[in-house]
Symmetry: C2
DNA sequence: CTGAAAGCGCTTACAG
DNA sequence: CTGAAAGCGCTTACAG
């Protein structure tokens, strides 16, 4: 049984009020008294009981992070950024992600309904996700990542994907003017895919082209399915002098590998670009031209925002927009030197 | 202000004792009464206060997971496995990882000293880490991942790396009998590297070879440093008809890329193999021959073990050993068909 | 500057 | 089967 505040009080021959005061550095405690108390605390190895404290203060110093998934670098980078900021600011991080067996409601309640977190960061990556409903029922400060939830007042941090995606499209169009660009996205209801596809359409139309349904594919962000698609399509795409714009790096890698297996040279016969700028982007050969998305920073920014909200519950809702950035490597067929001028043109 | 147990009691016209009883499904409560109470609970949207409950029960249903780092797939897979099992068993997961600014003591205390977790899973990956000291001071049930901590009674789950590493070495020796094998490890104090290097030495000696200091390199598990080393050494290694045994997939990828950039063909002129079987292993060309390490399972097993210990504090300390497994792909120069016979020989 | 006392929201013997 | 009461370990007015 660990020492309680009463044990400390007895040892230091003061009341528990005084012990509590030195703990919370409130009103000035007499230096001598304080020293006695501190000595007792040390001797007893006393640490305040979090539950008793939480009961009074209604604060746990724990924030929750709810993710739709835990596969891949994308999410782990968010956790990494959130962990760092959380620790720096003296909080703790409770992480929860969807598992196969649960509907999205469970995920949120798993971390929030217990009432133990002081606030919640939730990533909403699907438009149709019940997670949005679930979120709308929670009653702690909330920061939404990536998406938006109707009907709840909340802060959010999003990535301006449009910017990076538009730069990428401009880049591809510049390299192969008038040639088709294939879009390989994730699920149709996935918010990131929606954003990136939107940028794709705009760019194609703006360039005077026409968006063809046959140029758009919806997969699942995985290497293997993209590889399989590539096996089937890569020859045809090369014949059209097309380029491939994949909505994440893994799918780009899959398509590149399929192309190479088919004896095509990337980028010469088929430029392929990705999105996210994960580690994978530097491991493929050719190295991936992609769009950098600051995932760890997103996690950290969310934590900061949330803690500000916890401190001041009625500050105006804030939206932080992080910029994405075109990273030109080898898989698009343009030397990095080409990069600057192009960027300038579209800005 | 959320509803309290008293609000429920009033609405249902019973005492708080009765409300508490229906909540905890203790002694049979009269069905009629129970129904009244449950109705009140529903109407009020009542949820028990975790802090008050924790104060009485001394239980938070939160377990802590302390990791040395959060970069890369290795750790994220552990989190994924732990998250799944934790949720299945009705617990919550608090994650904490080292950040640059702290000494290892901070990491552990960040999650355990608050006294809020019911138990702790800690990964110890360095022999010299102060984290071991820090861990020895904690007073909740503990499961150690990968390493071992002196002087504390604890359960642990480890990977039998020796098995996979030995199989890999036998495989390499079989392919190029009598030729040198280069070992590229992580830090010298890293437990995984120590294990893998040990298997390396044994295998070389057992094959009648001699371990040469010049064949052993200690890097940092990163792609880039391995690539740099490769740039420098790859030609020499190829001339010696050597093979390269890297202690993780990323470094193997770095060396492969360096070899290819140098105009060498992998595996024909330089077989290179990895360790861990992360996603990267399937993205490299040639695909990596590597050793599969069940990371997610390790995370899940640790959670299970911890919860068993929490339930029964005096059960004997248990050690779970998970097997690693040689995965033959392309980068070693042996067709998978060769795989089975070789495995049989060494077993 | 310090102490006695109330109260946070629960659980759990103890009576009835 | 149900209620009154004590107690978990804190914080915080309120007096002094």
């Amino acid at each position: 049984m660990p020492a309680s505040i009463e044990d400390v009080a007895k040892l230091a021959k003061v009341s528990i009020s005084t012990v509590s005061r030195v703990l919370n550095r409130r009103n000035v405690v007499n230096p001598n008294t304080r020293e006695r108390v501190e000595k007792a605390i040390r001797e007893l190895g006393y640490r305040p009981n979090v539950f008793a404290r939480g009961l009074m203060l209604r604060k746990s110093n724990i924030i929750g992070l709810v993710l739709p998934d835990l596969h891949g670098e994308f999410y782990s980078e968010i956790i990494r950024g959130a962990n760092e900021k959380t620790r720096q600011l003296g909080y703790h991080l409770m992480v929860s992600a969807a598992i196969e067996s649960d509907d999205s409601h469970d995920i949120v309640s798993a971390v929030s309904n217990q009432g133990i977190v002081d606030g919640l960061i939730a990533m909403v990556s699907e438009t149709n996700a019940g997670i949005a409903d679930a979120i709308s029922t929670i009653d702690v400060p909330l920061v939404v990542l990536d998406g938006d939830v109707q009907g709840v007042r909340h802060d959010c941090v999003v990535i301006n994907q449009n910017e990076g995606a538009a730069a990428m499209m401009a880049h591809l169009i510049k390299i192969r003017p008038g040639k088709p660009i294939i879009f390989v996205g994730g699920n149709e209801t996935n918010l990131d895919t929606i954003d990136r596809l939107h940028a794709y359409r705009s760019a194609v139309e703006q360039a005077g082209g026409e968006v063809s349904a046959g140029d758009i594919f919806h997969l699942d962000y995985d290497y293997q399915t993209a590889f399989d698609l590539g096996v089937e399509m890569v020859g045809k795409w090369a014949k059209q002098n097309a380029s491939v714009f994949a909505a994440n790096d893994e799918m780009a890698a899959g398509i590149i590998d399929a192309a190479i297996d088919a004896g095509l040279s990337v980028p010469a016969q088929l430029p392929v670009v990705g999105f996210d700028d994960t580690r994978i982007a530097q491991l493929t050969r050719p190295r991936l031209t992609t769009v950098h998305v600051p995932m760890a920073i997103m996690g950290a920014a969310a934590v900061e925002l949330l803690l500000q909200r916890i401190e001041d519950p009625k500050r105006p809702a804030t939206k932080i927009t992080l910029q994405s950035e075109l990273i030109v490597r080898e898989s698009c067929g343009a030397s990095p030197a080409l990069h600057q001028p192009i960027l300038r043109e579209i800005s």
